[in-house]
Structures are given as structure tokens and as C-alpha cells.
Amino acid sequence: MKYLNKRTGVVIDVPCRLEGPDWEEVTEAKEAPKAEKAPAKAAQKKAVKKGADA
């Protein structure tokens, strides 16, 4: 699990639950929204093309 320290900006990856006034769990959507969307779109386009060829 990744946690962001809102005060210092440090992100740590720990195997256990962490709490505290400055800590916030980093979800995948918050972590890298652009990086995830781009390959998904490319994959969709390829799938459409393949379908058109068939």
C-alpha cells in the first residue's frame, strides 16, 4: 500500500495500514491517471482495427 505524506510530499510503500493526520492512501487513480488511460485507448483502437479487417 502506498501512502502520501501531505505535508512533506513523500510517498512510502508499506505492507501494512498506516494512519495519521498527514497521511493519505494513494490509490491507483490518484497515482498516475494519464499513464493508465493512454495505453487503454491505444489498445481499444487496435482492437477496432482488427475487427474491421475481419
Binding site: N5, R7, T8, V10, I12, V14, P15, C16, R17, L18, E19, G20, P21, D22, W23
Partner: protein, 306 residues
């Protein structure tokens, strides 16, 4: 089994009472792990206020003729207000006189026991914020000035040997994230046992120094104190407190009153026991004013079950 005392054979039986060994064996147990990890500081009787200063931002690179921005800073204050703690007990006149005759120094034993109780009670108060005698939250006196509440990073204890190791690592990572270093750890019996049971791929203990009840003064270079009765006091969920005790925790005894032998009145407010003189009793009392402060909560982490 004692033989009967008959006319034919004289047996010892219960004729000779056992001899009283001079001196009392003091059975009072307890210690302070916090006092071991952090030296005592002078605390004024009226309390102290320590101002803290911090610069949250970093230095700024400025181009030629470029505009500068403010870095900013913060000033805070931590107040250490000593609180009164006491321990007392009733003793009958007869016991006092009788104990003098057989050289049982009850006053000395009480004095030594009081010091032990004070040390143990200090840890319980500073870790859990409760009154050590009742186990109830001492919100009026201790408030939020205790590690279970104040620690900037709270780690959930996962409950096995390998995860105990990871818990400690996670706690230190949390402290490091604030740019602090851990100077020590106070561990309870559960996490100590979990780490002692941890083995590597060849089933060799990772911490052989913990085997058979070993209490090393450091693990992996981190100063350690083991104090199960205070860390896990009254079934507390806490398993360990880790942090920079050397720099960001402060404690001291503002005033320790000499041990009192009270002869009159009802000093323990016990309606049933009543007046001391009316019952030929005296009351032994130890009393002290002890204060502590967590100067920066972000320098500490707790490991606790949910």
C-alpha cells in the same frame, strides 16, 4: 509432615517458629523505558513552555533580476505541565513496632517500591494517557499528551513474525518521511516474541539475541527497550512506540516530596477504614510532580492492533 509430640519421642513439630530473615524482599516490579531512552530534563513546578520553530519550505533559486518568493516558517509551542501522582498505604502501629523488632525496614521498602511504581506509572501515562491506578483516561490532567494519540504515524500491527519486522520498517519509514530519525523503540511482549520467533529461509532465528527472553539494548542498530507491562498495559492495543526520543521527547520531575508518615486524619479518603488515630494506623505516602511533553509528534510512530 510434622510428627506428633508424644511422651516417647519429642518432635520439633510446630514448636519452633521459622526465623524471620532480616530485610524485606521487595516484590514491586516495574521500570520506565521512556526514562531509559530519554534523559531527564529540569521541569519547573509551574510548567514550561517550549517554543518550536520550523521552516517548511526549501531554498529558492532566483534568476538574475528575478522575483523572489517567501519561504515561510512556523512557530509553535509545547507546554509541559507537571501532574501530581501519589502512592500510599495504611500500616498498623502494631505492624510498625513489630517490624522494627525483627528488623524489617518497611519504610525503606515502601520508599524503594514507590520509585519503581513512579517509573512504571510514568510510562503508562505517557504512552496511553490513562490513570495507572484506575486504567481510565485522564483527560483532565494528561489530555492528549500521550503517544497513542499524538504519534504522527500509526501503523497497524499485522500479527506474525515476518510482518512484525515489516511493521517496524513501516514505522521508521513514516518517521523518515518527516525527515526525522528514530533514536529508539519501546517494544511490548507481543512484538518482542514475534521478532524472536522470526526465522530466515534456513530456519535460523533472525534475532538470536531475543531468544530465551533476551532483551538486547539494540536491534539492527536501533536502541531498544522492552517493557511489556507498560506498552500493553491493561490490554492496550499498542505493541511498540518508535521515534526520536532523544531530541523530541522531554520529561522531568518538577518536585518529589519526601516520603510522609501520616499519623492523623483520613488521608486516603476511605470512609470504611476511617480515622488513622482512631484505628492505631499510620499512612505511608510518596508524592511527586512529573511532567513530559512530545515536542514534535511527527517524530514518533506507534504500532498497534486495530
Amino acid at each position: 509432615m510434622s510428627l506428633p509430640n508424644t511422651a516417647n519421642a519429642i518432635a520439633r513439630g510446630s514448636l519452633f517458629p521459622p526465623e524471620v530473615v532480616a530485610g524485606l524482599m521487595n516484590m514491586v516490579k516495574g521500570k520506565s523505558a521512556l526514562a531509559a531512552l530519554c534523559g531527564q530534563s529540569p521541569i519547573p513546578f509551574n510548567g514550561s513552555k517550549t517554543f518550536t520553530f520550523n521552516m517548511d519550505n526549501e531554498i529558492d533559486v532566483v534568476a538574475e533580476a528575478g522575483a523572489k518568493s517567501a519561504g515561510g516558517g512556523q512557530v509553535g509551542a509545547v507546554t509541559i505541565q507537571p501532574i501530581k501522582v501519589e502512592y500510599g498505604m495504611r500500616v498498623s502501629d502494631e505492624f510498625l513496632y513489630g517490624s522494627e523488632e525483627v528488623a524489617l525496614d518497611i519504610l525503606r521498602a515502601f520508599s524503594e517500591g514507590w520509585a519503581v511504581k513512579l517509573a512504571k506509572g510514568f510510562d503508562i501515562m505517557a504512552m496511553h494517557g490513562v490513570n495507572p491506578r484506575t486504567g481510565l483516561a485522564a483527560s483532565g490532567t494528561i489530555g492528549n499528551n500521550y503517544f497513542d494519540y499524538a504519534a504522527g504515524t500509526k501503523i497497524t500491527y499485522l500479527g506474525s513474525s515476518s510482518t512484525a519486522y515489516q511493521n517496524v520498517d513501516a514505522a521508521i519509514a513514516g518517521i523518515n518521511a518527516y525527515d526525522h530519525e528514530a533514536s529508539g523503540a519501546v517494544m511490548g511482549s507481543t512484538i518482542r516474541a514475534a521478532l524472536a520467533a522470526m526465522v530466515d529461509s534456513d530456519t535460523r532465528p533472525v534475532f538470536p539475541e531475543l531468544a530465551w527472553g533476551g532483551r538486547p539494548s539494540s536491534l539492527n542498530g536501533l536502541r531498544t527497550e522492552f517493557n511489556g507491562p507498560t506498552v500493553e498495559y491493561n490490554s492496550a492495543k499498542t505493541r511498540a512506540v518508535i521515534g526520536d526520543f532523544a531530541n523530541y521527547f522531554k520529561w522531568g520531575i518538577a518536585k518529589e516530596l519526601p516520603m510522609e508518615v501520616i499519623q492523623y486524619g483520613n488521608p486516603d479518603n476511605d470512609a470504611t477504614a476511617g480515622d488513622l488515630k482512631g484505628h492505631n494506623q499510620v499512612y505511608l505516602r510518596g508524592e511527586a510532580y512529573i511532567g513530559w511533553g512530545i515536542l514534535d509528534a511527527t517524530a514518533f510512530a506507534t504500532i498497534a492492533t486495530t
